[in-house]
Symmetry: D2
Subunit: 335 residues, 4 copies
Amino acid sequence: MNTFGTLFRVTTFGESHGPALGAVVDGCPAGVALDPAHVQAALDRRRPGQSALTTPRKEPDQVEVLSGVYEGKTLGTPIAMLVRNVDARSQDYQTLRTEDRPGHADFTWRTRFGHRDPRGGGRTSARETVSRVMAAAVAEAFLARELPEVRTVAWVAKVGALECGAPEASLTRAQVDVHPTRCPDPKVSVAMAEAITKARDAGDSLGGAVDVRITGLPVGLGEPVFGKLKATLSAALTSIPAVAGVIIGAGDLELNGSQFHADPRSWGGIQGGLSNGQPLELRVLFKPPSTLREHALNGRHDPCVLPRAVPIVEAMVSLTLADARLSMLAHPHRP
Amino acid sequence: MNTFGTLFRVTTFGESHGPALGAVVDGCPAGVALDPAHVQAALDRRRPGQSALTTPRKEPDQVEVLSGVYEGKTLGTPIAMLVRNVDARSQDYQTLRTEDRPGHADFTWRTRFGHRDPRGGGRTSARETVSRVMAAAVAEAFLARELPEVRTVAWVAKVGALECGAPEASLTRAQVDVHPTRCPDPKVSVAMAEAITKARDAGDSLGGAVDVRITGLPVGLGEPVFGKLKATLSAALTSIPAVAGVIIGAGDLELNGSQFHADPRSWGGIQGGLSNGQPLELRVLFKPPSTLREHALNGRHDPCVLPRAVPIVEAMVSLTLADARLSMLAHPHRP
Amino acid sequence: MNTFGTLFRVTTFGESHGPALGAVVDGCPAGVALDPAHVQAALDRRRPGQSALTTPRKEPDQVEVLSGVYEGKTLGTPIAMLVRNVDARSQDYQTLRTEDRPGHADFTWRTRFGHRDPRGGGRTSARETVSRVMAAAVAEAFLARELPEVRTVAWVAKVGALECGAPEASLTRAQVDVHPTRCPDPKVSVAMAEAITKARDAGDSLGGAVDVRITGLPVGLGEPVFGKLKATLSAALTSIPAVAGVIIGAGDLELNGSQFHADPRSWGGIQGGLSNGQPLELRVLFKPPSTLREHALNGRHDPCVLPRAVPIVEAMVSLTLADARLSMLAHPHRP
Amino acid sequence: MNTFGTLFRVTTFGESHGPALGAVVDGCPAGVALDPAHVQAALDRRRPGQSALTTPRKEPDQVEVLSGVYEGKTLGTPIAMLVRNVDARSQDYQTLRTEDRPGHADFTWRTRFGHRDPRGGGRTSARETVSRVMAAAVAEAFLARELPEVRTVAWVAKVGALECGAPEASLTRAQVDVHPTRCPDPKVSVAMAEAITKARDAGDSLGGAVDVRITGLPVGLGEPVFGKLKATLSAALTSIPAVAGVIIGAGDLELNGSQFHADPRSWGGIQGGLSNGQPLELRVLFKPPSTLREHALNGRHDPCVLPRAVPIVEAMVSLTLADARLSMLAHPHRP
């Protein structure tokens, strides 16, 4: 339930307003170069409070590596990482003890678990993704050794009805991060920022889409028939809070097959469930957050999660690829 | 890899042109009434050759139950079911021994597994879904005992650019099956049938969307944080051949949050990853099949998989719900 | 529950008196040479009715390979194998419909599953091990390619209080099979045969021990900390019906450490949970069967399961080693 | 690998001489009363340095609960627990950087993982069991709610060749803990203590056996055919460092079946792989530690691990029972 992956396994823990959040990565091979500064850098990219567009909650999110790494290399043992919660104003949420927030998980969790954490979203809060980002930093260290050609770059492609075109093939994460919206088209980015500000001022919110492009994949990642790469990526991405869907490939599904298949981007880099060595593009759909104004005032939620979702989308892709790579290694054919 | 589910587990086997296809269902509780005739009826709904719109391959698809059932009730032991392949003209595919079909999985499988099954699609063929449909008949027998209110009804909502509106809340599977296209809107159905026929005659193909509506769900199905119901449903559905994406909820994601959340259909019946007791709607996107005319002549593929995909979509939903139900039982809270 | 292994996964099915028994092996890499005749030979070694010492039930146990193999090589897809039950005299067991057999699983299964299979032992019968033996034949084909030095040889070391000494290091399966008791010491074997015959005539039964020796292991098989090789072997062997314990290593545990560790046979070929390249010896303890005379008359059970247990012990070892090998491949360190 | 259990899942982390040891318990239902003081009390029972018979390493082993518990009750979310290492004199082990210790895991780990942790045993050290004891305290809190009749009591039954008889049925953990050896027979306990002291003075070590008795079990715990209770208990117990075997039941396996089955203690409380409601007895065999005098001087190891193994044996039993209980809940039969 709180573990992701079959061979590269991540177990996450921590409530939004509890003492700490953490991740234990089990299955990362030994000898992978892992610098805690890279984990910290990944957390910094995810951290709230970086621009006026996101939640004002302030968390330093300083990682502590508790196990599994020695002298800059993984030991092959579980890698446990911890981030303390600091700015956990649970008093903001005291009214939740008696009242379900509309559009939130309060009701479903209360029914299922016989309680709901009155200190805030608990495990349904987007703060849970801190654990995913830490774990993905380990996955990316592993991929850097194992599949050094792989690049995963995500960007905000859509906010409300505003949409940008396909960016250059050479787009990097650094180029995306230049924009407060993480939309790489400067004009569309400005329009998105205005729309988000306007929604916040109106106590409203906006959804949209994050697109992600994966290049440098080997041929053959994925497992037939239930572990197809498109299925594991979809599960990984849909497990992110607020995600409302995943579309594989950049093709226009209204086209006839002859036209559709003439464009390699349509195929999504996957055939028969396995990567085919071509770039893989996915679109991740986000719904607008449900937090209404009165709750936003105390609960400090984002009017639009898209800009902060970019590193989380990349994280889930990297975790999926690391797991698929180990699975491929486990079932070799020998010439 | 070929096993679906955590507690209600289905292991499938069989190549498209091998001796047989099968499924082993492990984890179905004892004492569930299971009539092999219901399994057969489910297979009959999936079977090709039922209308001019689908592949001409003729398979009787007669199920044999090998274990796990005694005097009409499940024993709590694994339920193994078998269907023999009859019309497996593997000679049609002899040219495949030396040649990769464009747009097919031939290349990725050959690279990954050191061979590709020269007898046809092997495990990448849609024929593999026979196993899913058999297993889902068991899942539906279990759900009929365990969650008797649950109804899962899917239909063809889109073929190419042709789309029908939302059907009545009372729509049944039988009403869907009346239409050769399995689109419940009579006018749109006729237009879709014409489009499919035209595509076939042109050696071309069409994609589209199957919509599925699940009603009667209890509150609380799903497991935080990686086993959210939206994530397990997405993985299940995306594992179907030709599926290019899944969208949860019927809401317009371009709307502001205040408008979006005003409509319960937007939420998709899921909050915080758990079912909330409301109807759940999903859209499953299919790409147009890649088989070109020269291969279609011998390989006998569908110009449009949508009509036949309807029972397969329902099957994957039922398998997911059965597994989620067992997981919910496994972690009770006690008042 | 009915699946063994993490990466080399075996799902078994079939009731003792149902239509068939089977196994699905998922995770065996592609390209492994697999001859159905080897599977059949493994079944023949296990089959009852081979000597006067074992149950008179007559089953041809002819294997049918349903999937996963093409032109003598594995495809990398699930390998399903089937054996039909022929001599299933379930009428012998009709009294079981109303009466629990003392010492049998009837009572526990009835309580847990709300029924007990009135046709005999169902899944608790030793007949279930047919599936294990078939699957292990695939595991051994994989090991023959992957770890060709590995040899697993088991023998009956003890029946009641009769015990043989350690056999030669060069002992082979064929040398063991020469003896109806599968005890390789000719004198002790004769005494064991007499004891078994005497027990049968008295409507009584005998337990004992099967010893197993594994040579040619690489260094490093096993997974810390819960997947230690000693733990996975113990679980595998203890899952065999009638097994009452497993002892790792051939050392005398009453010795002081200095003496104990002076003999490499004491260590059991495992250090820190991983194989160390030395021969590994285990003792598998069996309790005497509980079937009393009145049931033995119709139910046709063995007075002593030890001789027939030898290939089953070897089977569970081979399945464990195949799984451990895939796990080792999945987590490589790179120099 | 570092996760135990299927539904009540424990993931452990931490090296013997790293910053910390921890456990994440996932799958514990919500609403279970859990007092951190009980976790601490469990750790205190395991802690070294309590008597002259055990390793002089001094660790306060103060637990910190990081998540999953709120106002004294479990939330249904992962419960993460942490213990900092304090007395980790890794400089004691500096010679290990170049030299493998005979009888230790140094060689196997170096081969498998490309390194060995020069700071000491890493994950092969018995210190790893801190994580198991913390997790088992949660399992026992769950069992106290779910199966309040269950009692698990272990004791040292054998040291070298010294053995005590079966204790009273009413034996409690507190009565066992009175004795520095944890052997409940006062005379044998004194003799054992002398033998251990003598072995230590001689730079030698001793093995033996811990017996464990489980009472108050319901009927039906365990999962056929690979998850039989005897198999899961064996795997759990054999995963403990230094364990060399597990014997189920207290029967004399040299007896004829008629005599053997006349004594309920022989059966081990398990039939057909499922608990039968009778007391279950197991014997856990330990080999003498391999640490020789020169290493013992700096490495501070125990001459005999038996006394400290008692709470660890109980811990692994409790974890196994909690997992089996959830599995039983997950597959209900309905009358």
